[in-house]
Amino acid sequence: MTEPIYGMMAEFDNPSALVSAARAAREKGYRQLDAYSPFPIEELSDALHLHKNRLPLLVLIGGIVGGILGYMLQYFVTVMYYPLNIGGRPLHSWPAYIIITFEMTILFASLTAVLGMLGLCGLPMPYHPAFNVPRFALASRNRFFLCIESADPLFDRDKTCEFLETLEPREVSEVAH
């Protein structure tokens, strides 16, 4: 028994080959797989069924929370904590609150978008096994990778390797843990 590995990785030199490979792997029944590319590929997300994520909902909640906090802050300060009577005008002067409420909505929503994106991606991540493949450095330049992870129930070192070879990659390599 050899050491356990993270997965098997195939390298392609164009995005079309990667997309068809990802589709083929899904069809074969693999589910624990990931693709790596130097730019976002719409068709790849389709192939891997990645179109749904919770980020929009998080951002909506973040925005609503920011807006409410912004309004409450102004209400609290101008009505309760530090009321200024200006010619008997109402203390709860809501039209004047709109701008700061709006800015706080945007601020909180944007912060949620960025932190939520990082959270959903699991970043920052100082170590990932994919980087153990020396040629993986090209994933940020001009190469496209498909990795079938050993966590997949169908994963078998030899059979997965054979399968990946049928996809006409440039190279197939093992990804050490």
Partner: protein, 460 residues
């Protein structure tokens, strides 16, 4: 109707020069940071920027010891160059957000090779803008009083004041711009991490890239995040200059108190911002040999946006004069007449020449395609927009409702030093940026290449 799609797809052909591959695009942009020697022109400009920055530090040092009187501020003109510079710089920043956010939502792919440095321009312009209201406070070290926080004095900011709205608008704008810029940088930082050979560089870029590895799962979330941020930044950028204009319109000073200031200011902001984009892009592309990535088409499009917004600005000047006349209010009429014929008439007519007459030259393709002329034109626009804010602010304040308090504003050498100093600060930050980070978004340019289109084959 079936033809509509083709119309959208057609222009993408000429956005970048033919012959590029994923590899060459990456190498060309990354080499500016990693391997190429800094050109002497850039070194020279950097030296000038450093010199101006030192002048800025001197001017600020003097201001801190002696007070805002070192500027030409005398009653009744208590806002002059400082607020002019603030509005000018914030306005310049707006083009960056327009390019990165609004053009992303509109699916204008030509933005992909200019959005990175335009966003950097936004951040540095906002940093320069922020200097002025803070220094103008008189006691800048107490600037945290602008924010609401529990304090032993038991006082809080007045949320009914546009000046407090401005604090929130500009600080939110700065924060969101930095976030948007950083998120856009992450994949390119990963590229630099993988491309750099020096260990220290690898660690630094790797740290900043946060372990980005181009995973499809990440790209899916990343694309959602970019779109959401663009959607949030779009109303934000419009709100920021609106709030800046409210600083004036909410006041009852003649020449300020009008309802069309917000759209007028936003148009002016984008106008001057695109001028700055051109003023930066034209020298950059020739110094670094990036003419294949920042093509004539980019300059042409930017010039068209500049002209369109310039025409809106010209229209606003006419409406400003018309509504002053039509209001029947003698103070409004006098303020307008004073702008045209009073002590600031030279500034007024120069700004009309720069902002109303000059942009019309851009109707001609010959002007738009001549980069030298376009560069000079963008400087003319920047001067014109500075004068516009100066005339609006100073002419209205110096000759207010009470003739006995009138006084013609005179700038001091420290006004000049602070203003030129922020130009130094801007150039300093910008040149550092192009030296240390990729000035063109590498991953977004890759998506523009014809190879990036997925070819469907039978196996699919």
């Amino acid at each position: 109707m079936a033809d509509d799609r083709q119309v959208i797809d057609a222009p993408s052909k000429k956005i970048i020069a033919p012959g590029y591959t994923f590899g060459t695009v990456t190498d060309q942009i990354a080499s500016v940071v990693l391997t190429r020697k800094t050109p002497y022109v850039v070194m020279g400009t950097f030296a000038v920027a450093m010199g101006l920055l030192l002048i800025f530090l001197l001017a600020v040092g003097l201001l801190l010891t002696k007070g805002v009187g070192v500027w030409g501020l005398r009653g009744p003109t208590m806002w002059a160059w400082d607020i002019t510079n603030f509005v000018w710089w914030v306005g310049i920043g707006h083009a960056g957000t327009l390019i990165s956010a609004i053009l992303l939502l509109l699916n204008q792919q030509w933005r992909n090779s200019i959005n990175r440095f335009a966003e950097a321009m936004t951040i540095f312009a906002v940093a320069c803008a922020g200097m002025f209201p803070i220094l103008h406070l008189g006691r800048p070290w107490l600037m945290y009083w602008l924010f609401p926080y529990p304090n032993t004095m038991g006082i809080e900011p007045n949320f009914r004041s546009p000046l407090v709205w401005d604090v929130f608008a500009v600080s939110t704008y700065a924060t969101v711009s930095v976030l948007f810029w950083y998120v856009g940088l992450m994949p390119d930082l990963a590229t630099l991490r993988d491309r750099s050979e020096h260990r220290a560089l690898k660690v630094t870029y790797g740290f900043l890239a946060m372990g980005w590895r181009g995973s499809a799962k990440h790209w899916a979330v990343y694309e959602t995040a970019s779109l959401l941020l663009a959607g949030l930044a779009t109303p934000l950028v419009l709100s920021v200059h609106t709030v800046v204009s409210l600083d004036f319109t909410v006041g009852i000073v003649p020449g300020w108190h009008s309802t069309f200031f917000p759209p007028y200011f936003v148009a002016g902001a984008i106008y001057s911002g695109f001028a700055m984009v051109l003023a930066l892009a034209i020298p950059l592309r020739s110094v670094y040999g990036l003419k294949g990535l920042i093509t004539e088409r980019h300059l042409d499009n930017a010039a068209k946006v500049m002209m369109a917004t310039g025409l809106i600005v010209g229209y606003s000047y006419i409406m400003e004069a018309f509504s002053a006349w039509y209001s029947g209010n003698v103070y409004e009429q006098a303020a307008m007449w004073n702008r045209m014929t009073g002590p600031y008439k030279y500034q007024y007519w120069v700004l009309v020449a720069c902002n109303v007459i000059a942009p019309n030259a851009l109707w001609f393709k010959k002007v738009r395609s001549n980069t030298v002329v376009l560069f000079i034109w963008s400087l003319i626009v920047l001067v014109g927009m500075w004068l516009e804010r100066f005339v609006i602010i100073v002419a209205s304040l110096a000759q207010d409702n009470l003739p006995s308090s009138w006084r013609v504003f005179e700038s001091t050498r420290w006004d000049w030093a602070t203003y030129l100093g922020t130009i130094g600060l801007f150039l300093f930050l910008f040149l550092l940026f192009i030296r240390l980070l990729p000035m063109i978004s590498i991953f977004e340019v890759r998506t523009l290449l014809p190879q990036a289109k997925i070819k469907e084959d039978s196996r699919g």
